[in-house]
Amino acid sequence: MENEKLSLPNYNIPEDIQNVVAITTLDRLYNWGRRSSVWPLMFGLACCAIEMIAAQTARYDMARFGMEVMRPTPRQADMMLVSGTVTKKMLPAIIRLYNQMPEPKYVVAMGACASSGGPFKEGYNVVAGIDKFLPVDVYIPGCPPTPQALIAGMIKLQEKIDKQSIKTVRWYDKNKADSNYVPMPILGPDLIDVRRNAEYKKAAATQTTQESA
C-alpha cells in the first residue's frame, strides 16, 4: 500500500541503505505510527459489539490492520468504537470514558444506533446518535454492520489519519484545547446536556402542557 511506505518518493536513497535510512516528514512518520496501531477501547454496548468480537476472531482478524489490541482501560486506548445503542442512562459513562482517553483520540460510530438512534430512535431512553455529544470520525452503516464493513470502516479511519497534520489537529491547538473535553451530562427528569441549559430553560417555560403523567 502506498501510504505504508514511509520514505518520501522524491528522495533517491541508494538501494543498499534503503532498509536503514528513510527520509520523510514528521507528519508522515507520526501518522504512520498512529495508523498502524489504533488501539480500540474494549467496550461493547449492544448487538453490534458481537459483530465487533466476530471481526476479531480468526475468520476476519482485524489484527491484520494493526487494530486488534483492545484496551480495557480508556487511558491506553486511541479509539472508541461505539458499538451499539447509546441510551441516556449509559451516556454519562460513555462521556466519562471518552474524557479519560488521551489524545489523539478517535470515535467510530458502529451501526445504525450509534450513528442515528437506528431502529430504536423513537425510544424514550435512546440518544439519537452519539454525534450529539462526541465528535465522530467514521460512521459505519448497518444493523449490525458485518465484520467486513467494520474493517472497511477502520480502514477509512486510517485513511483519515493519513491525511492529518500535526499542525492542524485540534488536540495540539492551544485555542481549541477545551474542545477535547465534553462536559458530563446529568440524569435529571430527562437527560440534561449542560451545554444547552439556557435553551432548555427557555423551552420549558413555553411548554404549555405537561405531557408526562
Partner: protein, 580 residues
C-alpha cells in the same frame, strides 16, 4: 401448536368464594383476585395447587376502563398448563398492590419493572426502586397516557410516512430539539440529581453484617457498566469484607431500548425484527417465541414444512449460543481468547447457514405468522446435515477433551455452589441453570410447543447445582439439539412454507396470549394483549436473563469476589434481553 393454556382445571372460585372471580372478557382466561386477598390466594396457589414457578409478573394499563391490572402467570415445574391470575385496581395514584416477593422472591425484579414503567406500587416489596430508568426520571413510560418526546401518533404506520410520505425530523417537532421532555418551568441549573443515594442505601440495608470476631472495614466497589467481563453494560455495586461479597445490587437499564413501548406502537409484523435484537445471539429463538404467541392469539395453523425449519433454526441457534457461552466462560476464568477463538469458528459456520436462509448473519427476521419467510434450498439442508452429523459433534468432543479435565477449570468450577433446586424454583430461574440444579424442566417437554413432541430427545439434567454442572450441561444440551436437528432433517416434508398469504397487516382477534418457548437461556415468553386493532394493546417480553438475574444477590452473597464474574457468566445473561 400447543393447546391453549386451560386454566379452568383449577377451581379457585370454589376454594375462595367471594375473593376470586373468573375473568369473563372474551379472549381472556384465568381469575381475578381481590386485591385484599391476593397474598392468601397466592400462597394457596403455590402450596395447595402446586404452581410453584411464578414466571411472569407484569402490568397492563386499561386507560379507558380506568383500571390498572397486574397479571401473574404461574406454572408447575412438573409440567403442564399454567394458571393466570390477576389483580385489578382503580387507576388513581398511588396504585397499590401487595407484593408477592415474600411468596416468590423471583417476583422481585419484575415488580420493580412494573413500578418503574407503569407506576404500580407493590406494598411490602423490600426494595422498590426504579430498575430500568434512573431514579428521578419523570413519569412511567408504559402508561397509556404517557407520551415520549418523539411521539408522533398512537400507532404505526405513522401518517407522515405512509401514505403521505412527508417525513419531518422528529427533532424539529420537539420544543427541546432533541429526544427530551422536561416538565414545565424546569430549570436545569437548579436541578440536583439524586446521585444514587437510594442505591447505596438499599445496598447497605441488604448487606450481611460481619460476625464480630476480626473487625474489618466493608468497602463498596462498583463494577461496570464498562466492565469487560460483565457481558454487556451491566453494573453491580458490591460490598466487600476482605474478599467476601457481603452485599450486592445489580444496576441495569444501560441498554434499555424501550422494546415494550415501541412494540405497542408497531404493527404485529413490524415487531418481528425488533425481537431479533432482544437476545442478539439468538434472533431465531426470539422470532420463534414471538410468532408462537401471536399465532396463539390468531389461532392459525403453521405450515408443516415451516415447523421443521423453525425447529432446525432454533436448535442451531441454541448450539451456537452454548458454544459462545463456553468460550466466554473460559475468558472469564482467565484463559484469555484461545478457546473462544475456537468456538467462534464453529459459530461462524452456523451463522453462514442463517445468512444463507435469511440474508443476515445475526438479525435474521426469518419467522412469519404461519410459517417462515423463505424456503431452505436442498443444498443448504445438506450443509446443515454435514454440520450436525460430522463437524459439530466432533468439535464438541474435542472441546470437552481439551477443557474438561483442565486442572484450573476443575479447581475454579467444581464444588463452587451456584444454586440449589429449591431456591432456583423460588427465584423463578429457568433454563440450563434450573436443570443443572436437578429440576428436569424443559419447556420442549414440559409444555410442548411447535412440534417438539415428535422428536426423541432427553432433557439434559444434572444434580449438583455447582458451577461444574452448569458448565457441563451446556455440552449435554448441544448434543440433544444435534439429535433433534438430525431427526428433523430426516422427517422434513416438502410443501408450502407458510399457511397464510403474505400480508402487511394481520388480523388478530381481541384477547390475550402468553406464549413461551425454551430459549437457550431459559423461558422466553411474550405476553400480548390485543383489542382487535392492527397494533397490540399491550406487548410484554418476559426475558429469561432478566428473571434469572433476580437470584444474583442470593447466589453471590457470601461468595468470593474472584468467583463473581464466573457466577454471573453461569447465568448466561445478555443485555439486549435483560434491559430490552
Amino acid at each position: 401448536m400447543a393447546a391453549p393454556a386451560s386454566t379452568q382445571t383449577v377451581d379457585l372460585i370454589a376454594r375462595f368464594p367471594g375473593m376470586v372471580t373468573a375473568d369473563t372478557r372474551p379472549g381472556f382466561t384465568g381469575f381475578i383476585v381481590n386485591k385484599e386477598n391476593l397474598l392468601e390466594v397466592a400462597v394457596a396457589i403455590r402450596d395447595e395447587f402446586g404452581y410453584d414457578l411464578l414466571t411472569a409478573v407484569t402490568g397492563v394499563d386499561y386507560l379507558a376502563e380506568n383500571k390498572m391490572e397486574v397479571v401473574y402467570h404461574a406454572f408447575k415445574t412438573t409440567g403442564g398448563a399454567g394458571l393466570i391470575f390477576r389483580v385489578q385496581v382503580e387507576r388513581v395514584d398511588p396504585i397499590e398492590v401487595p407484593s408477592l416477593t415474600g411468596i416468590w422472591p423471583g417476583a422481585d425484579f419484575q415488580e420493580r419493572e412494573a413500578w418503574d414503567l407503569l407506576g404500580i406500587k407493590f406494598t411490602g416489596h423490600p426494595d422498590l426502586r426504579r430498575i430500568l430508568m434512573w431514579e428521578g426520571y419523570e413519569g412511567h413510560p408504559l402508561r397509556k397516557d404517557w407520551k415520549e418526546a418523539f411521539y408522533e401518533e398512537e400507532v404505526k404506520p405513522f401518517k407522515s410516512r405512509w401514505p403521505d410520505g412527508q417525513h419531518i425530523y422528529s427533532e424539529f417537532k420537539n420544543p427541546f430539539r432533541d429526544n427530551l421532555n422536561f416538565p414545565k418551568d424546569f430549570d436545569p441549573e437548579k436541578y440536583e440529581p439524586e446521585n444514587e443515594k437510594d442505591l447505596y442505601a438499599s445496598l447497605e440495608n441488604h448487606t450481611l453484617k460481619g460476625e464480630g470476631g476480626l473487625k474489618t472495614d466493608q468497602i463498596v466497589v462498583n463494577m461496570g457498566p464498562h466492565h469487560p467481563s460483565t457481558h454487556g453494560v451491566l453494573r453491580v455495586a458490591v460490598t466487600l469484607e476482605g474478599e467476601t461479597i457481603m452485599g450486592l445490587k445489580p444496576v441495569m437499564g444501560y441498554l434499555h431500548r424501550n422494546h415494550d413501548k415501541i412494540g405497542e406502537r408497531n404493527t404485529y409484523l413490524q415487531t418481528i425484527p425488533y425481537t431479533d435484537r432482544l437476545d442478539y445471539f439468538n434472533s431465531m429463538s426470539n422470532n420463534f417465541g414471538y410468532v408462537t404467541t401471536v399465532e396463539k392469539l390468531m389461532n392459525i395453523p403453521v405450515a408443516e414444512r415451516a415447523e421443521y425449519i423453525r425447529v432446525i433454526m432454533a436448535e442451531l441457534s441454541r448450539i451456537q449460543n452454548h458454544l459462545i457461552f463456553i468460550g466466554m466462560l473460559m475468558n472469564d476464568l482467565g484463559t484469555m481468547y484461545t478457546p473462544s477463538l475456537y468456538v467462534f469458528e464453529e459459530r461462524e459456520l452456523i451463522l453462514d447457514i442463517f445468512e444463507a436462509v435469511s440474508g443476515a448473519r445475526m438479525m435474521c427476521n426469518y419467522y412469519r405468522f404461519g410459517g417462515v419467510v423463505r424456503d431452505i434450498p436442498d443444498d443448504i439442508l445438506q450443509r446443515i446435515k454435514d454440520l450436525v452429523v460430522e463437524r459439530i459433534p466432533a468439535k464438541t468432543d474435542e472441546m470437552e477433551r481439551f477443557l474438561n479435565d483442565n486442572e484450573i477449570l476443575v479447581g475454579r468450577l467444581k464444588g463452587v455452589h451456584l444454586i440449589n433446586a429449591e431456591d432456583a424454583i423460588k427465584y423463578s430461574i429457568t433454563g440450563p441453570v434450573l436443570r443443572a440444579a436437578g429440576v428436569p424442566y424443559d419447556l420442549r417437554r414440559a409444555d410442548p410447543y411447535s412440534i417438539y413432541d415428535r422428536f426423541d430427545f432427553d432433557v439434559a439434567v444434572r444434580y449438583n447445582g455447582d458451577m461444574m454442572d452448569n458448565y457441563l450441561i451446556r455440552f449435554d444440551e448441544i448434543r440433544q439439539s444435534l439429535r433433534i436437528i438430525e431427526q428433523a432433517l430426516k422427517q422434513i416434508p416438502q410443501g408450502p412454507i407458510n399457511s397464510q398469504k403474505p400480508a402487511y397487516q394481520v388480523r388478530v382477534p381481541a384477547g390475550e396470549a402468553y406464549g413461551r418457548i425454551e430459549s437457550p437461556k431459559g423461558e422466553l415468553a411474550f405476553y400480548v394483549v390485543s383489542n382487535g386493532k392492527p397494533n397490540p394493546y399491550r406487548y410484554h417480553v418476559r426475558p429469561a436473563s432478566f428473571v434469572n438475574l433476580t437470584a444474583i444477590e442470593h447466589i453471590c452473597r457470601g461468595a468470593k469476589i474472584q468467583d463473581f464474574v464466573a457466577l454471573l457468566a453461569m447465568l448466561d445473561i445478555v443485555m439486549g434481553e435483560l434491559d430490552r
